[in-house]
């Protein structure tokens, strides 16, 4: 079995309240089973195009979202269903978008790679690697200039840390002391290529040194650790002390995109990571604390699955965008 190194927390990790735990557990289940359902729908050709699932990585989006405040903003990647659901996007909105229906979060115009909901602070999932970082820094600039106390967060992958926009944005954010937190979800692969073939350092958090910025490698599988490390970074940002780079060690259970079966994984790697499943880790803690039992967990799971099924059935009956949508919103008229 492949050994997984678990990074030490750099801040005190207190057990979160039962309420927060329950809500995180619920979100993680929602994400997990939404992704499973989407894979199924794709393979059945019920959804077109492509998709990038995040099962296995739920601890990161959920832990961060739980520590955000209203007014904070997020940009993320094409692997963005988890962030959207964690931030509160209604399942129906997501499902309709997946199916290109006008009732989707982007009126069907975005699709799987662009789950966006401005009303929740979700400023856009991006299909160009690295492009979401400057956009988050821009949201942070607004917060800084308007002194709102809000912060911006940008999620990206390990392989994205090799693109120019990453470097430029971290540098600029540091020198302007912008209230932004950069969160690298290091799931060990960029598409089908393992990190070490494209990146000569193991812990990406070391790259923060180039920007005179704190950089922390975090156990991304434990949502409470994620919450704690992120909260410390968010507090620094809100206090005007500038950005932080958090590298979350995590893993995706599915392939890069829908047709990828993951032939490049070393034997045992997937299994080793599944041992550290983020849902299991939180559920175990809750069970140990008497906040949950197996029956309840099973019920919760089933209710989430019912909810997902309901959203799918609903979305399938929703209309496609009218032809007028074709030219609408190229420009804002007014």
């Amino acid at each position: 079995m492949i050994g997984i190194r678990i990074p030490e927390p750099t801040v005190e990790v207190k057990p979160l309240s039962e309420d927060i735990r329950r809500s995180m557990l619920y979100k993680m289940l929602q994400i997990r089973y939404t992704e499973e359902k989407l894979q199924e729908l794709f393979l059945a050709n019920a959804i077109r195009g492509t998709t990038h699932l995040c099962n296995g990585q739920e601890g990161v989006s959920t832990g961060v979202a739980a520590a955000l405040r209203k007014g904070d903003t997020v940009t993320c990647t094409y692997r963005g269903h988890g962030h959207a659901l964690a931030m509160g996007m209604p399942l129906k909105s997501l499902m309709a978008e997946m199916m290109g229906r006008v009732s989707g979060c982007c009126r069907g115009k975005g699709g799987s790679m662009h789950m966006t909901d401005a009303s929740l602070g979700l400023l856009g999932a991006n299909a160009i690697v690295g492009a979401q970082l400057p956009i988050a820094a821009g949201a942070a600039l607004t917060a800084q200039i308007e002194k709102t106390g809000n912060i911006a967060v940008s999620f990206f992958g390990d392989a994205a840390s090799n693109i120019g926009a990453f470097h430029e944005t971290l540098n600029l954010a540091s020198v302007w002391k912008l209230p932004v937190v950069f969160i690298c979800e290091n799931n060990r692969y960029g598409e089908y290529t393992p990190q070490h073939l494209t990146t000569p350092v193991e812990d990406l958090s070391i790259r923060a040194i180039s920007y005179n910025m704190p950089g922390v490698t975090v156990d991304g599988q434990d949502s409470e650790v994620v919450f704690a490390e992120f909260s410390a970074a968010a507090a620094r940002a809100r206090a005007g002390e500038g950005p932080t780079f958090l590298e979350m060690k995590t893993y995706r259970y599915r392939g890069h995109s829908r047709t990828d079966t993951g032939p490049y994984r070393p034997a045992g790697e997937l299994e080793a990571w599944m041992e550290r499943d983020p849902i299991k880790i939180l559920a175990d803690k809750m069970i140990a604390a008497g906040q949950l039992d197996q029956v309840e967990l099973e019920e919760l799971t089933q209710s989430v699955q019912r909810e997902i099924l309901g959203a799918v059935e609903w979305a399938q009956r929703e209309p496609y965008p009218d032809p007028e949508e074709l030219t609408r919103d190229i420009f804002y008229e007014g």
């Binding site: 069907g108 115009k109 400023l123 956009i135 821009g138 949201a139 919103d329 804002y332 007014g334």
Partner: protein, 325 residues
């Protein structure tokens, strides 16, 4: 009525918009403390402060993308890309993000963002500092593109661009920064999308912009002495394009020459011609000519640079050729 240089007109437009709306911010390389490499922006940092007027690192992709992030969260950023040749460095943010952000979100965002950049040749800056950039941008839906050709337009259209609730790229011509012209004292923001007949005529229509519009005016003067009456349209805004003004001029003259300071292939001159050849074909009395840079790029050496840009001589020759049929 005040006589200003194009450079001063741009500065005044920036200052007036920064003054009139606290949401307007401005950043770019060396634009704040130093006042810009073309000396277009002196004093803005002093008047509006380092919070709103900022010098950036050399990180075009990042700071252009930041302008987008700031725009969708409530500010009205103006960003300077020093030379239009650097637009490719930030191209992803411009064409994949800024241009598409509203559409692909299903209209969730308003993107009130202005990119200013200096384009065009004639001043000996060589191959990588002379290009015009409008065609790359025009072929990207979601962007408005403005090409002011004189001080009054530099002032009014830039203010209009900053007021727009859409992304606008304003391409100033660096060869015109010293051009002087009258700017009405009460001139406010001008609406985008209106061409202007800068010279009336009846024999032939020339469509042009910026430096080569000046060259065309010179040609028209010279031909007037021979009794040839040339009408000249300055497009001013490339997107949206003012088809009406174009078509009514073609209807009047029946002859068309399009002058572009840009390569021929996939150049906007083709759009002007295809407008004429579609909606105006029965007005046309002669072949339509495009005078442009062909398949040539800028070189440093002065004689070559002069040959590359449509010169008055080349424009005149094309006009004569069209009039001869």
């Amino acid at each position: 009525m005040t006589v200003l240089t194009y450079r001063e007109a741009v500065r005044n437009a920036l200052a007036d918009e920064l003054r009139s709306d606290p949401k307007v911010i401005f950043f770019g390389e060396d634009v704040a403390v130093a006042g810009g490499v073309f000396k277009v922006t002196p004093g803005l940092y002093e008047e509006f402060g380092g919070e709103r007027v900022r010098d950036t690192p050399i990180s075009e992709e990042a700071f252009v993308g930041m302008a987008l992030g700031a725009a969708i969260t409530g500010l009205r950023p103006i960003v300077e890309l020093m030379f239009a040749d650097f637009i490719p460095v930030a191209m992803d943010q411009i064409v994949n993000q800024i241009a598409k952000y509203r559409y692909m979100s299903g209209g969730q965002f308003v993107v009130p963002l202005t990119i200013r950049s200096a384009q065009g040749g004639g001043v000996g800056f060589g191959t990588q500092h002379s290009q015009t950039a409008e065609n790359w941008l025009m072929n990207t839906p979601g962007l408005k593109v403005v090409v002011p050709g004189n001080p009054a337009d530099a002032y009014g259209l830039l203010r209009g661009a900053i007021r727009e609730n859409n992304p606008v790229v304003v391409l100033e011509h660096k060869g015109l920064y010293n051009m002087k012209g009258e700017v009405p004292d009460d001139l406010g923001p001008l609406p985008l999308g209106k061409a202007r007949v800068v010279r009336e005529g009846s024999d032939l229509t020339i469509v042009a912009t910026q430096l080569v519009c000046q060259h065309s005016l010179k040609v028209a003067e010279e031909l007037a002495a021979e009794g040839i009456s040339v009408e000249i349209i300055d497009l001013r805004t490339m997107v949206p394009l003012d088809s009406e003004t174009l078509l009514s001029s073609i209807a009047k003259t029946g002859r068309l020459v399009v002058v572009e300071e840009a390569p021929h292939a996939s150049g906007w001159g083709g759009d002007i011609v295809s407008l004429a050849a579609d909606q105006g074909i029965f007005y046309l009395d002669a072949p339509v000519k495009r005078v442009n840079m062909g398949n040539v790029m800028f070189a440093y050496s002065e004689p070559l640079e002069k040959l590359a840009i449509p010169s008055p001589e080349r424009i005149k020759a094309a006009v004569r050729e069209v009039l001869a049929t």
